[in-house]
Protein backbone atom coordinates (compact mmCIF):
# COMPACT_ATOMS: atom_id res chain seq x y z
CA UNK A 1 0.00 0.00 0.00
CA UNK A 2 1.53 3.32 -1.01
CA UNK A 3 1.00 6.60 0.78
CA UNK A 4 -1.63 7.91 -1.68
CA UNK A 5 -3.85 4.86 -1.06
CA UNK A 6 -3.40 5.21 2.70
CA UNK A 7 -4.38 8.87 2.64
CA UNK A 8 -7.23 8.05 0.30
CA UNK A 9 -8.60 5.57 2.83
CA UNK A 10 -8.17 8.16 5.60
CA UNK A 11 -10.14 10.71 3.59
CA UNK A 12 -12.87 8.15 2.92
CA UNK A 13 -13.08 7.47 6.67
CA UNK A 14 -13.29 11.21 7.42
CA UNK A 15 -16.02 11.69 4.81
CA UNK A 16 -17.96 8.76 6.25
CA UNK A 17 -17.64 10.03 9.84
CA UNK A 18 -18.58 13.55 8.85
CA UNK A 19 -21.60 12.47 6.83
CA UNK A 20 -22.76 10.22 9.69
CA UNK A 21 -22.46 13.06 12.19
CA UNK A 22 -24.14 15.55 9.89
CA UNK A 23 -27.16 13.31 9.38
CA UNK A 24 -27.49 11.64 12.79
CA UNK A 25 -26.57 14.29 15.37
CA UNK A 26 -29.42 16.69 16.10
CA UNK A 27 -27.43 19.52 17.74
CA UNK A 28 -26.54 22.33 15.30
CA UNK A 29 -23.02 22.83 16.68
CA UNK A 30 -22.21 19.14 16.29
CA UNK A 31 -23.60 19.25 12.77
CA UNK A 32 -21.28 22.15 11.98
CA UNK A 33 -18.30 20.26 13.42
CA UNK A 34 -19.30 17.18 11.42
CA UNK A 35 -19.46 19.36 8.30
CA UNK A 36 -15.89 20.47 9.00
CA UNK A 37 -14.79 16.85 9.43
CA UNK A 38 -16.46 15.99 6.14
CA UNK A 39 -14.81 18.99 4.53
CA UNK A 40 -11.39 17.92 5.81
CA UNK A 41 -11.97 14.52 4.26
CA UNK A 42 -12.73 16.14 0.91
CA UNK A 43 -9.67 18.40 1.14
CA UNK A 44 -7.48 15.40 1.97
CA UNK A 45 -8.95 13.69 -1.07
CA UNK A 46 -7.85 16.67 -3.17
CA UNK A 47 -4.36 16.10 -1.78
CA UNK A 48 -4.50 12.44 -2.79
CA UNK A 49 -5.62 13.44 -6.29
CA UNK A 50 -2.71 15.88 -6.48
CA UNK A 51 -0.23 13.18 -5.41
CA UNK A 52 -1.57 10.64 -7.89
CA UNK A 53 -1.55 13.16 -10.73
CA UNK A 54 2.11 14.10 -10.16
CA UNK A 55 4.05 14.22 -13.39
CA UNK A 56 7.09 15.88 -14.99
CA UNK A 57 9.21 15.26 -11.90
CA UNK A 58 6.95 17.31 -9.63
CA UNK A 59 6.05 16.04 -6.18
CA UNK A 60 2.39 16.76 -6.76
CA UNK A 61 -0.04 18.27 -9.26
CA UNK A 62 -0.37 21.93 -8.17
CA UNK A 63 -3.95 22.48 -9.44
CA UNK A 64 -5.80 20.47 -6.74
CA UNK A 65 -3.65 22.16 -4.11
CA UNK A 66 -4.75 25.54 -5.41
CA UNK A 67 -8.36 24.32 -5.36
CA UNK A 68 -7.98 23.18 -1.74
CA UNK A 69 -6.97 26.67 -0.64
CA UNK A 70 -10.12 28.13 -2.16
CA UNK A 71 -12.15 25.27 -0.70
CA UNK A 72 -10.80 25.97 2.78
CA UNK A 73 -11.66 29.65 2.50
CA UNK A 74 -15.21 28.81 1.40
CA UNK A 75 -15.67 26.23 4.13
CA UNK A 76 -14.28 28.66 6.71
CA UNK A 77 -16.82 31.31 5.67
CA UNK A 78 -19.60 28.75 5.74
CA UNK A 79 -18.63 27.70 9.26
CA UNK A 80 -18.46 31.32 10.39
CA UNK A 81 -21.92 32.05 9.00
CA UNK A 82 -23.43 28.90 10.54
CA UNK A 83 -21.84 29.58 13.94
CA UNK A 84 -23.09 33.17 13.84
CA UNK A 85 -26.61 31.84 13.25
CA UNK A 86 -26.26 29.36 16.13
CA UNK A 87 -25.01 32.10 18.46
CA UNK A 88 -27.86 34.44 17.55
CA UNK A 89 -30.38 31.64 18.00
CA UNK A 90 -28.87 30.82 21.38
CA UNK A 91 -29.11 34.44 22.44
CA UNK A 92 -32.76 34.69 21.41
CA UNK A 93 -33.65 31.35 23.03
CA UNK A 94 -31.94 32.43 26.27
CA UNK A 95 -33.88 35.65 26.28
CA UNK A 96 -37.12 33.78 25.74
CA UNK A 97 -36.42 31.20 28.44
CA UNK A 98 -35.12 33.71 30.99
CA UNK A 99 -38.12 35.91 30.26
CA UNK A 100 -40.47 32.97 30.80
CA UNK A 101 -38.57 31.94 33.92
CA UNK A 102 -38.88 35.43 35.38
CA UNK A 103 -42.59 35.54 34.57
CA UNK A 104 -43.33 32.16 36.15
CA UNK A 105 -41.23 33.12 39.17
CA UNK A 106 -43.20 36.32 39.59
CA UNK A 107 -46.42 34.34 39.35
CA UNK A 108 -45.18 31.92 42.02
CA UNK A 109 -44.34 34.85 44.29
CA UNK A 110 -47.79 36.23 43.70
CA UNK A 111 -49.34 32.87 44.61
CA UNK A 112 -47.40 32.73 47.85
CA UNK A 113 -48.25 36.19 49.06
Amino acid sequence: MNSATLFGLCSAALVGLGLFGLIVRPEPLRKILAFNLLGSGVFLFFGVVARRGAAAGLGADPVPQALVITGIVVSFSATALAVALVLRLRKLTDEVTSGLGAASKAQEDGDHS
Binding site: G18, V49, A78, R88
Partner: protein, 497 residues
Protein backbone atom coordinates in the same frame (compact mmCIF):
# COMPACT_ATOMS: atom_id res chain seq x y z
CA UNK B 1 -13.99 21.94 -29.77
CA UNK B 2 -10.45 20.74 -30.29
CA UNK B 3 -9.47 24.24 -31.42
CA UNK B 4 -8.34 26.67 -28.77
CA UNK B 5 -11.15 28.58 -27.10
CA UNK B 6 -10.86 32.32 -27.64
CA UNK B 7 -12.74 35.34 -26.39
CA UNK B 8 -15.61 36.42 -28.67
CA UNK B 9 -16.40 40.01 -29.61
CA UNK B 10 -19.01 40.57 -26.89
CA UNK B 11 -17.20 38.43 -24.33
CA UNK B 12 -16.41 41.40 -22.10
CA UNK B 13 -20.16 41.68 -21.37
CA UNK B 14 -19.98 38.43 -19.41
CA UNK B 15 -17.35 39.84 -17.07
CA UNK B 16 -19.42 42.97 -16.71
CA UNK B 17 -22.52 40.92 -15.86
CA UNK B 18 -20.73 39.34 -12.89
CA UNK B 19 -18.71 42.36 -11.78
CA UNK B 20 -21.38 45.06 -12.03
CA UNK B 21 -23.43 43.84 -9.03
CA UNK B 22 -20.15 43.30 -7.15
CA UNK B 23 -19.29 46.93 -7.84
CA UNK B 24 -22.69 47.74 -6.35
CA UNK B 25 -21.77 45.82 -3.18
CA UNK B 26 -18.45 47.63 -2.90
CA UNK B 27 -20.08 51.04 -3.35
CA UNK B 28 -22.72 50.11 -0.74
CA UNK B 29 -19.98 50.02 1.85
CA UNK B 30 -18.71 53.52 1.07
CA UNK B 31 -22.07 55.28 0.66
CA UNK B 32 -24.22 56.07 3.65
CA UNK B 33 -27.02 53.75 4.68
CA UNK B 34 -29.52 55.98 2.92
CA UNK B 35 -27.40 56.09 -0.23
CA UNK B 36 -27.66 52.36 -0.86
CA UNK B 37 -31.26 52.61 -1.97
CA UNK B 38 -30.41 55.35 -4.47
CA UNK B 39 -27.43 53.26 -5.58
CA UNK B 40 -29.85 50.42 -6.36
CA UNK B 41 -31.75 52.77 -8.68
CA UNK B 42 -28.59 52.86 -10.80
CA UNK B 43 -27.31 49.29 -10.37
CA UNK B 44 -30.59 47.56 -11.22
CA UNK B 45 -31.40 49.22 -14.58
CA UNK B 46 -27.79 49.01 -15.79
CA UNK B 47 -27.62 45.34 -14.80
CA UNK B 48 -30.83 44.80 -16.75
CA UNK B 49 -29.23 46.51 -19.74
CA UNK B 50 -26.22 44.19 -19.52
CA UNK B 51 -28.49 41.12 -19.49
CA UNK B 52 -30.35 42.39 -22.57
CA UNK B 53 -27.05 43.10 -24.33
CA UNK B 54 -25.82 39.55 -23.64
CA UNK B 55 -29.11 38.14 -24.94
CA UNK B 56 -28.86 40.19 -28.14
CA UNK B 57 -25.22 39.23 -28.65
CA UNK B 58 -26.00 35.51 -28.29
CA UNK B 59 -29.09 35.74 -30.51
CA UNK B 60 -27.34 37.69 -33.26
CA UNK B 61 -24.16 35.64 -33.17
CA UNK B 62 -26.16 32.40 -33.12
CA UNK B 63 -23.43 30.89 -30.97
CA UNK B 64 -22.09 31.03 -27.42
CA UNK B 65 -20.33 34.16 -26.28
CA UNK B 66 -17.07 33.30 -24.55
CA UNK B 67 -14.62 35.19 -22.37
CA UNK B 68 -11.32 33.52 -21.60
CA UNK B 69 -10.17 34.91 -18.26
CA UNK B 70 -6.65 36.34 -18.46
CA UNK B 71 -6.34 34.90 -21.99
CA UNK B 72 -5.37 31.53 -20.47
CA UNK B 73 -7.33 28.95 -22.45
CA UNK B 74 -8.75 25.93 -20.58
CA UNK B 75 -7.56 23.55 -19.15
CA UNK B 76 -4.92 25.95 -17.74
CA UNK B 77 -7.27 28.88 -17.31
CA UNK B 78 -11.02 29.20 -16.96
CA UNK B 79 -13.58 30.50 -19.42
CA UNK B 80 -16.94 32.21 -19.05
CA UNK B 81 -19.51 31.04 -21.55
CA UNK B 82 -23.00 32.34 -22.34
CA UNK B 83 -25.15 30.00 -24.41
CA UNK B 84 -28.87 30.29 -25.11
CA UNK B 85 -30.08 29.02 -21.76
CA UNK B 86 -27.66 31.14 -19.74
CA UNK B 87 -28.63 34.29 -21.67
CA UNK B 88 -32.34 33.57 -21.13
CA UNK B 89 -31.70 32.80 -17.47
CA UNK B 90 -29.78 36.07 -17.07
CA UNK B 91 -32.66 38.06 -18.55
CA UNK B 92 -35.19 36.34 -16.26
CA UNK B 93 -32.93 37.09 -13.30
CA UNK B 94 -32.66 40.73 -14.35
CA UNK B 95 -36.45 41.12 -14.74
CA UNK B 96 -37.16 39.61 -11.32
CA UNK B 97 -34.34 41.64 -9.72
CA UNK B 98 -35.65 44.95 -11.10
CA UNK B 99 -39.23 44.22 -10.07
CA UNK B 100 -38.06 43.12 -6.62
CA UNK B 101 -36.01 46.30 -6.34
CA UNK B 102 -39.04 48.38 -7.22
CA UNK B 103 -41.13 46.43 -4.72
CA UNK B 104 -38.57 46.69 -1.93
CA UNK B 105 -38.10 50.45 -2.27
CA UNK B 106 -40.94 50.96 0.16
CA UNK B 107 -40.17 48.12 2.54
CA UNK B 108 -36.41 48.53 2.81
CA UNK B 109 -35.95 52.27 2.72
CA UNK B 110 -34.55 54.55 5.39
CA UNK B 111 -37.01 57.29 6.37
CA UNK B 112 -35.12 60.54 6.93
CA UNK B 113 -36.77 61.22 10.28
CA UNK B 114 -35.61 57.92 11.83
CA UNK B 115 -32.09 56.74 12.71
CA UNK B 116 -30.47 54.52 10.07
CA UNK B 117 -31.38 50.86 10.40
CA UNK B 118 -29.15 47.98 9.44
CA UNK B 119 -31.55 45.60 7.70
CA UNK B 120 -32.24 47.84 4.63
CA UNK B 121 -28.50 48.11 3.89
CA UNK B 122 -28.08 44.36 4.35
CA UNK B 123 -31.04 43.66 2.09
CA UNK B 124 -29.66 45.66 -0.84
CA UNK B 125 -26.18 44.18 -0.44
CA UNK B 126 -27.65 40.67 -0.42
CA UNK B 127 -29.75 41.46 -3.48
CA UNK B 128 -26.64 42.51 -5.40
CA UNK B 129 -24.77 39.46 -4.13
CA UNK B 130 -27.49 37.06 -5.26
CA UNK B 131 -27.50 38.66 -8.68
CA UNK B 132 -23.75 38.40 -9.05
CA UNK B 133 -23.72 34.81 -7.79
CA UNK B 134 -26.47 33.78 -10.19
CA UNK B 135 -24.76 35.39 -13.16
CA UNK B 136 -21.50 33.66 -12.24
CA UNK B 137 -23.40 30.39 -11.93
CA UNK B 138 -25.02 30.54 -15.36
CA UNK B 139 -21.86 31.79 -17.08
CA UNK B 140 -19.29 29.51 -15.44
CA UNK B 141 -17.88 26.62 -17.44
CA UNK B 142 -15.49 25.19 -14.90
CA UNK B 143 -16.86 22.81 -12.26
CA UNK B 144 -14.80 24.31 -9.44
CA UNK B 145 -15.60 27.85 -10.49
CA UNK B 146 -19.26 26.82 -10.42
CA UNK B 147 -18.78 25.52 -6.87
CA UNK B 148 -17.55 28.94 -5.78
CA UNK B 149 -20.49 30.62 -7.54
CA UNK B 150 -22.90 28.21 -5.86
CA UNK B 151 -21.45 29.04 -2.46
CA UNK B 152 -21.63 32.78 -3.09
CA UNK B 153 -25.29 32.31 -3.94
CA UNK B 154 -25.93 30.29 -0.76
CA UNK B 155 -24.11 32.73 1.49
CA UNK B 156 -26.21 35.57 0.07
CA UNK B 157 -29.47 33.60 0.28
CA UNK B 158 -29.21 32.32 3.87
CA UNK B 159 -29.04 35.73 5.63
CA UNK B 160 -31.96 36.91 3.49
CA UNK B 161 -34.13 34.31 5.24
CA UNK B 162 -33.47 35.72 8.72
CA UNK B 163 -33.47 39.41 7.88
CA UNK B 164 -36.37 39.95 10.29
CA UNK B 165 -34.26 38.46 13.08
CA UNK B 166 -37.04 36.52 14.81
CA UNK B 167 -36.29 33.19 16.42
CA UNK B 168 -38.30 31.13 13.90
CA UNK B 169 -36.64 32.73 10.89
CA UNK B 170 -33.17 32.16 12.33
CA UNK B 171 -34.07 28.53 12.94
CA UNK B 172 -35.25 28.30 9.32
CA UNK B 173 -32.05 29.94 8.09
CA UNK B 174 -29.90 27.55 10.11
CA UNK B 175 -31.74 24.54 8.75
CA UNK B 176 -31.38 25.89 5.20
CA UNK B 177 -27.68 26.48 5.86
CA UNK B 178 -27.12 22.91 7.09
CA UNK B 179 -28.87 21.41 4.04
CA UNK B 180 -26.86 23.73 1.80
CA UNK B 181 -23.61 22.71 3.52
CA UNK B 182 -24.25 19.01 2.90
CA UNK B 183 -25.11 19.86 -0.69
CA UNK B 184 -22.02 21.91 -1.38
CA UNK B 185 -19.58 19.50 0.23
CA UNK B 186 -21.01 16.55 -1.75
CA UNK B 187 -20.71 18.62 -4.92
CA UNK B 188 -17.08 19.42 -4.07
CA UNK B 189 -16.29 15.76 -3.45
CA UNK B 190 -17.74 14.91 -6.85
CA UNK B 191 -15.68 17.65 -8.49
CA UNK B 192 -12.51 16.29 -6.84
CA UNK B 193 -13.25 12.82 -8.21
CA UNK B 194 -13.82 14.23 -11.69
CA UNK B 195 -10.49 16.04 -11.56
CA UNK B 196 -8.80 12.85 -10.35
CA UNK B 197 -10.26 10.88 -13.23
CA UNK B 198 -9.86 13.35 -16.11
CA UNK B 199 -7.35 16.00 -15.01
CA UNK B 200 -9.67 18.83 -16.03
CA UNK B 201 -12.74 20.58 -14.66
CA UNK B 202 -13.63 22.48 -17.83
CA UNK B 203 -17.09 21.45 -19.03
CA UNK B 204 -16.19 21.63 -22.72
CA UNK B 205 -13.09 19.46 -22.36
CA UNK B 206 -14.90 17.04 -20.05
CA UNK B 207 -17.66 16.44 -22.59
CA UNK B 208 -15.03 15.16 -25.04
CA UNK B 209 -13.18 12.94 -22.58
CA UNK B 210 -15.96 11.62 -20.39
CA UNK B 211 -16.58 7.85 -20.35
CA UNK B 212 -19.19 5.85 -18.44
CA UNK B 213 -16.98 4.23 -15.78
CA UNK B 214 -17.98 3.75 -12.11
CA UNK B 215 -15.79 6.63 -10.84
CA UNK B 216 -17.46 9.15 -13.17
CA UNK B 217 -20.96 7.94 -12.35
CA UNK B 218 -20.31 8.04 -8.59
CA UNK B 219 -18.85 11.54 -8.91
CA UNK B 220 -21.79 12.76 -10.99
CA UNK B 221 -24.27 11.17 -8.56
CA UNK B 222 -22.60 12.84 -5.58
CA UNK B 223 -22.75 16.20 -7.32
CA UNK B 224 -26.38 15.67 -8.32
CA UNK B 225 -27.51 14.64 -4.83
CA UNK B 226 -25.72 17.66 -3.38
CA UNK B 227 -27.44 19.96 -5.85
CA UNK B 228 -30.83 18.32 -5.26
CA UNK B 229 -30.53 19.27 -1.59
CA UNK B 230 -30.05 22.91 -2.65
CA UNK B 231 -32.85 22.73 -5.22
CA UNK B 232 -35.19 21.33 -2.52
CA UNK B 233 -36.40 18.44 -4.65
CA UNK B 234 -38.57 15.98 -2.72
CA UNK B 235 -37.51 14.34 -0.31
CA UNK B 236 -34.81 16.97 0.39
CA UNK B 237 -37.38 19.78 0.51
CA UNK B 238 -37.83 20.00 4.29
CA UNK B 239 -35.86 23.22 4.68
CA UNK B 240 -37.75 25.17 2.03
CA UNK B 241 -41.21 26.01 3.47
CA UNK B 242 -40.06 27.65 6.74
CA UNK B 243 -37.19 29.45 4.97
CA UNK B 244 -39.21 30.82 2.04
CA UNK B 245 -42.25 31.62 4.16
CA UNK B 246 -40.19 33.28 6.90
CA UNK B 247 -38.22 35.68 4.72
CA UNK B 248 -39.57 39.19 4.08
CA UNK B 249 -41.72 39.33 0.90
CA UNK B 250 -39.05 40.61 -1.53
CA UNK B 251 -36.61 38.07 -0.08
CA UNK B 252 -39.09 35.22 -0.54
CA UNK B 253 -39.58 36.36 -4.13
CA UNK B 254 -35.84 36.16 -4.85
CA UNK B 255 -35.36 32.85 -3.03
CA UNK B 256 -38.31 31.06 -4.58
CA UNK B 257 -38.02 32.52 -8.05
CA UNK B 258 -34.27 32.46 -8.59
CA UNK B 259 -32.06 30.89 -5.94
CA UNK B 260 -33.45 27.34 -6.11
CA UNK B 261 -33.21 27.53 -9.91
CA UNK B 262 -29.48 28.20 -9.73
CA UNK B 263 -28.66 24.73 -8.46
CA UNK B 264 -31.14 23.16 -10.91
CA UNK B 265 -29.32 24.95 -13.72
CA UNK B 266 -26.11 23.33 -12.56
CA UNK B 267 -27.67 19.83 -12.60
CA UNK B 268 -28.65 20.42 -16.23
CA UNK B 269 -25.13 21.67 -16.98
CA UNK B 270 -23.65 18.48 -15.56
CA UNK B 271 -25.89 15.98 -17.35
CA UNK B 272 -26.43 17.77 -20.67
CA UNK B 273 -23.15 19.67 -21.12
CA UNK B 274 -20.36 18.06 -19.10
CA UNK B 275 -21.52 14.45 -19.46
CA UNK B 276 -23.85 14.24 -22.46
CA UNK B 277 -25.37 10.82 -22.96
CA UNK B 278 -24.18 9.47 -19.61
CA UNK B 279 -27.52 9.72 -17.86
CA UNK B 280 -28.99 6.23 -18.12
CA UNK B 281 -32.69 5.64 -18.76
CA UNK B 282 -33.20 4.36 -15.20
CA UNK B 283 -31.40 7.34 -13.63
CA UNK B 284 -33.44 9.82 -15.69
CA UNK B 285 -36.62 8.01 -14.66
CA UNK B 286 -35.53 8.20 -11.02
CA UNK B 287 -35.00 11.97 -11.23
CA UNK B 288 -38.38 12.42 -12.90
CA UNK B 289 -40.01 10.13 -10.31
CA UNK B 290 -38.68 12.37 -7.53
CA UNK B 291 -40.04 15.32 -9.49
CA UNK B 292 -43.42 13.59 -9.79
CA UNK B 293 -43.45 12.87 -6.05
CA UNK B 294 -42.63 16.54 -5.43
CA UNK B 295 -45.56 17.63 -7.60
CA UNK B 296 -48.02 15.37 -5.79
CA UNK B 297 -46.73 15.81 -2.23
CA UNK B 298 -46.09 19.55 -2.63
CA UNK B 299 -49.53 20.11 -4.13
CA UNK B 300 -51.30 18.04 -1.48
CA UNK B 301 -49.45 19.77 1.36
CA UNK B 302 -50.15 23.21 -0.15
CA UNK B 303 -53.87 22.43 0.03
CA UNK B 304 -53.60 21.78 3.75
CA UNK B 305 -51.81 25.01 4.66
CA UNK B 306 -53.42 27.57 6.94
CA UNK B 307 -51.08 30.46 6.06
CA UNK B 308 -50.77 32.04 2.63
CA UNK B 309 -46.97 32.30 2.49
CA UNK B 310 -46.57 28.65 3.50
CA UNK B 311 -49.04 27.65 0.81
CA UNK B 312 -46.99 29.49 -1.80
CA UNK B 313 -43.79 27.89 -0.49
CA UNK B 314 -45.28 24.39 -0.83
CA UNK B 315 -46.43 25.32 -4.30
CA UNK B 316 -42.77 26.07 -5.13
CA UNK B 317 -41.86 22.52 -4.12
CA UNK B 318 -44.51 21.19 -6.49
CA UNK B 319 -43.51 23.47 -9.38
CA UNK B 320 -39.82 22.53 -9.04
CA UNK B 321 -40.91 18.93 -9.66
CA UNK B 322 -41.95 19.73 -13.25
CA UNK B 323 -38.43 20.86 -14.07
CA UNK B 324 -37.08 17.36 -13.55
CA UNK B 325 -39.17 15.94 -16.40
CA UNK B 326 -36.53 17.52 -18.61
CA UNK B 327 -34.14 14.66 -17.82
CA UNK B 328 -36.09 11.71 -19.29
CA UNK B 329 -37.94 13.72 -21.94
CA UNK B 330 -35.09 15.77 -23.40
CA UNK B 331 -32.54 12.95 -23.18
CA UNK B 332 -32.28 12.71 -26.98
CA UNK B 333 -31.34 16.37 -27.34
CA UNK B 334 -27.74 15.71 -28.35
CA UNK B 335 -28.95 13.12 -30.85
CA UNK B 336 -31.17 15.80 -32.43
CA UNK B 337 -34.52 14.08 -31.76
CA UNK B 338 -37.32 16.58 -32.44
CA UNK B 339 -39.50 15.95 -29.38
CA UNK B 340 -36.47 16.23 -27.10
CA UNK B 341 -36.25 19.80 -28.32
CA UNK B 342 -39.92 20.27 -27.39
CA UNK B 343 -39.32 18.94 -23.87
CA UNK B 344 -36.20 21.09 -23.55
CA UNK B 345 -38.14 24.24 -24.47
CA UNK B 346 -41.04 23.22 -22.21
CA UNK B 347 -38.76 22.61 -19.24
CA UNK B 348 -37.03 25.95 -19.55
CA UNK B 349 -40.29 27.81 -20.13
CA UNK B 350 -41.57 26.21 -16.92
CA UNK B 351 -38.49 27.53 -15.11
CA UNK B 352 -38.86 31.07 -16.47
CA UNK B 353 -42.63 31.30 -16.05
CA UNK B 354 -42.44 29.91 -12.52
CA UNK B 355 -39.72 32.42 -11.65
CA UNK B 356 -41.86 35.34 -12.83
CA UNK B 357 -45.19 34.16 -11.45
CA UNK B 358 -43.84 32.95 -8.09
CA UNK B 359 -42.04 36.23 -7.46
CA UNK B 360 -45.26 38.09 -8.27
CA UNK B 361 -47.24 35.79 -6.00
CA UNK B 362 -44.92 36.22 -3.01
CA UNK B 363 -45.06 40.00 -3.50
CA UNK B 364 -48.86 39.92 -3.61
CA UNK B 365 -48.92 37.78 -0.46
CA UNK B 366 -46.55 40.23 1.21
CA UNK B 367 -48.86 43.14 0.39
CA UNK B 368 -51.92 41.26 1.63
CA UNK B 369 -50.12 40.41 4.89
CA UNK B 370 -49.07 44.05 5.23
CA UNK B 371 -52.61 45.31 4.78
CA UNK B 372 -54.23 42.77 7.07
CA UNK B 373 -51.43 42.30 9.57
CA UNK B 374 -51.60 38.49 9.13
CA UNK B 375 -51.77 35.94 6.31
CA UNK B 376 -54.20 33.34 7.67
CA UNK B 377 -56.04 32.01 4.63
CA UNK B 378 -59.33 31.53 6.46
CA UNK B 379 -59.50 35.24 7.31
CA UNK B 380 -58.60 36.70 3.93
CA UNK B 381 -62.22 37.37 3.06
CA UNK B 382 -62.94 40.33 0.82
CA UNK B 383 -59.43 41.78 0.68
CA UNK B 384 -59.65 41.59 -3.11
CA UNK B 385 -62.07 44.52 -3.04
CA UNK B 386 -59.65 46.67 -1.09
CA UNK B 387 -56.51 45.64 -3.05
CA UNK B 388 -57.78 44.95 -6.59
CA UNK B 389 -54.34 45.31 -8.25
CA UNK B 390 -52.72 42.93 -5.79
CA UNK B 391 -55.53 40.47 -6.32
CA UNK B 392 -55.14 40.70 -10.08
CA UNK B 393 -51.41 40.03 -9.69
CA UNK B 394 -52.13 37.02 -7.49
CA UNK B 395 -54.76 35.73 -9.87
CA UNK B 396 -52.70 36.11 -13.05
CA UNK B 397 -49.62 34.48 -11.53
CA UNK B 398 -51.86 31.74 -10.12
CA UNK B 399 -53.28 31.03 -13.58
CA UNK B 400 -49.75 30.61 -14.91
CA UNK B 401 -48.91 28.19 -12.07
CA UNK B 402 -52.03 26.13 -12.74
CA UNK B 403 -51.37 26.18 -16.48
CA UNK B 404 -54.47 28.00 -17.73
CA UNK B 405 -54.09 29.39 -21.28
CA UNK B 406 -52.84 31.86 -22.32
CA UNK B 407 -49.86 31.97 -19.98
CA UNK B 408 -46.23 30.91 -19.81
CA UNK B 409 -47.12 28.11 -17.44
CA UNK B 410 -49.71 26.77 -19.89
CA UNK B 411 -47.28 26.65 -22.82
CA UNK B 412 -44.60 25.06 -20.63
CA UNK B 413 -46.88 22.35 -19.30
CA UNK B 414 -48.51 21.64 -22.65
CA UNK B 415 -45.09 21.27 -24.30
CA UNK B 416 -44.00 18.86 -21.57
CA UNK B 417 -47.28 16.99 -21.95
CA UNK B 418 -46.76 16.76 -25.71
CA UNK B 419 -43.24 15.43 -25.18
CA UNK B 420 -44.44 12.73 -22.76
CA UNK B 421 -46.86 11.45 -25.39
CA UNK B 422 -44.35 11.57 -28.24
CA UNK B 423 -41.66 9.95 -26.12
CA UNK B 424 -44.11 7.21 -25.10
CA UNK B 425 -43.68 7.96 -21.39
CA UNK B 426 -47.38 8.52 -20.74
CA UNK B 427 -47.03 7.92 -16.99
CA UNK B 428 -45.55 11.41 -16.55
CA UNK B 429 -48.53 12.89 -18.42
CA UNK B 430 -50.90 11.72 -15.67
CA UNK B 431 -48.70 13.37 -13.05
CA UNK B 432 -48.65 16.65 -14.99
CA UNK B 433 -52.44 16.63 -15.23
CA UNK B 434 -53.00 15.71 -11.56
CA UNK B 435 -50.44 18.34 -10.56
CA UNK B 436 -52.39 20.93 -12.53
CA UNK B 437 -55.58 19.94 -10.71
CA UNK B 438 -53.89 20.22 -7.31
CA UNK B 439 -52.49 23.64 -8.25
CA UNK B 440 -55.96 24.68 -9.38
CA UNK B 441 -57.28 23.53 -6.01
CA UNK B 442 -55.00 25.63 -3.87
CA UNK B 443 -55.00 28.69 -6.12
CA UNK B 444 -58.79 28.84 -6.41
CA UNK B 445 -59.16 28.18 -2.70
CA UNK B 446 -57.25 31.41 -2.04
CA UNK B 447 -58.84 33.35 -4.91
CA UNK B 448 -62.30 32.37 -3.68
CA UNK B 449 -61.54 33.82 -0.27
CA UNK B 450 -60.02 36.99 -1.73
CA UNK B 451 -63.17 37.59 -3.77
CA UNK B 452 -65.54 36.53 -1.01
CA UNK B 453 -67.31 38.69 1.52
CA UNK B 454 -65.32 40.15 4.36
CA UNK B 455 -65.72 39.35 8.02
CA UNK B 456 -63.78 42.39 9.24
CA UNK B 457 -64.46 46.01 8.25
CA UNK B 458 -62.16 46.78 5.30
CA UNK B 459 -61.59 50.35 6.44
CA UNK B 460 -59.33 49.14 9.25
CA UNK B 461 -56.72 47.86 6.77
CA UNK B 462 -53.27 49.40 6.65
CA UNK B 463 -52.57 51.40 3.46
CA UNK B 464 -50.48 49.78 0.72
CA UNK B 465 -48.40 51.66 -1.82
CA UNK B 466 -49.74 51.55 -5.39
CA UNK B 467 -46.20 51.39 -6.84
CA UNK B 468 -45.50 48.17 -4.98
CA UNK B 469 -48.77 46.68 -6.16
CA UNK B 470 -47.82 47.55 -9.74
CA UNK B 471 -44.40 45.90 -9.32
CA UNK B 472 -46.11 42.62 -8.46
CA UNK B 473 -48.63 43.04 -11.27
CA UNK B 474 -45.95 43.72 -13.89
CA UNK B 475 -44.20 40.43 -13.05
CA UNK B 476 -47.50 38.54 -13.26
CA UNK B 477 -48.17 40.12 -16.65
CA UNK B 478 -44.66 39.09 -17.80
CA UNK B 479 -45.49 35.50 -16.77
CA UNK B 480 -48.64 35.61 -18.90
CA UNK B 481 -46.90 37.29 -21.84
CA UNK B 482 -44.36 34.46 -21.85
CA UNK B 483 -47.19 32.37 -23.29
CA UNK B 484 -47.29 34.60 -26.37
CA UNK B 485 -43.59 34.21 -27.12
CA UNK B 486 -43.12 32.94 -30.67
CA UNK B 487 -41.79 29.40 -30.52
CA UNK B 488 -38.93 30.34 -32.78
CA UNK B 489 -37.18 31.13 -29.54
CA UNK B 490 -36.95 27.40 -28.93
CA UNK B 491 -33.99 27.50 -31.31
CA UNK B 492 -32.55 30.25 -29.15
CA UNK B 493 -32.54 27.98 -26.11
CA UNK B 494 -30.46 25.47 -28.06
CA UNK B 495 -27.74 27.92 -29.06
CA UNK B 496 -24.36 26.64 -27.97
CA UNK B 497 -25.19 22.93 -27.85
Amino acid sequence: MSTTITTTASGYLLVLAIMWPVAGIMLSFVTSGRGVERLACVVLPVGFGIAVAVLIAVAQGGQSQIYVVGDWAPPLGIALRADGISAAMMLTTAIVMCATGLFAQGEFSQPSDLPEARSPVVFWVLLFAIWSGLNALVLGSDLFNLYVALELLTFAAVPLVCLKGQKETIEAALRYMLFALIGSVLYLLGAAMIYGAYGTLDIGLLSERVRPDPATLIAASLMTVGLLAKTALFPLHLWLPPAHAGAPAPGSALLSALVVKGSFFLIVRIWFDAMPGLLSFAAAQLLAALGAAAILVGGALALRQKRLKLLIAYSTIAQIGYLFFIFPLAAGLTAGIAWSGIAWTGGWLQLFSHALSKAAMFMAAGLIAEALGHDRIAELGGIGRRLPITMLAFGLSGLSLVGVPPSGGFVAKSLLLMATVMEGQWWWATVIIVGGLLAGGYIFMVLGRLLGSSATPLASLAPVSMRRELAALSLAICAVLLGFLPLRSSDFLQIGR
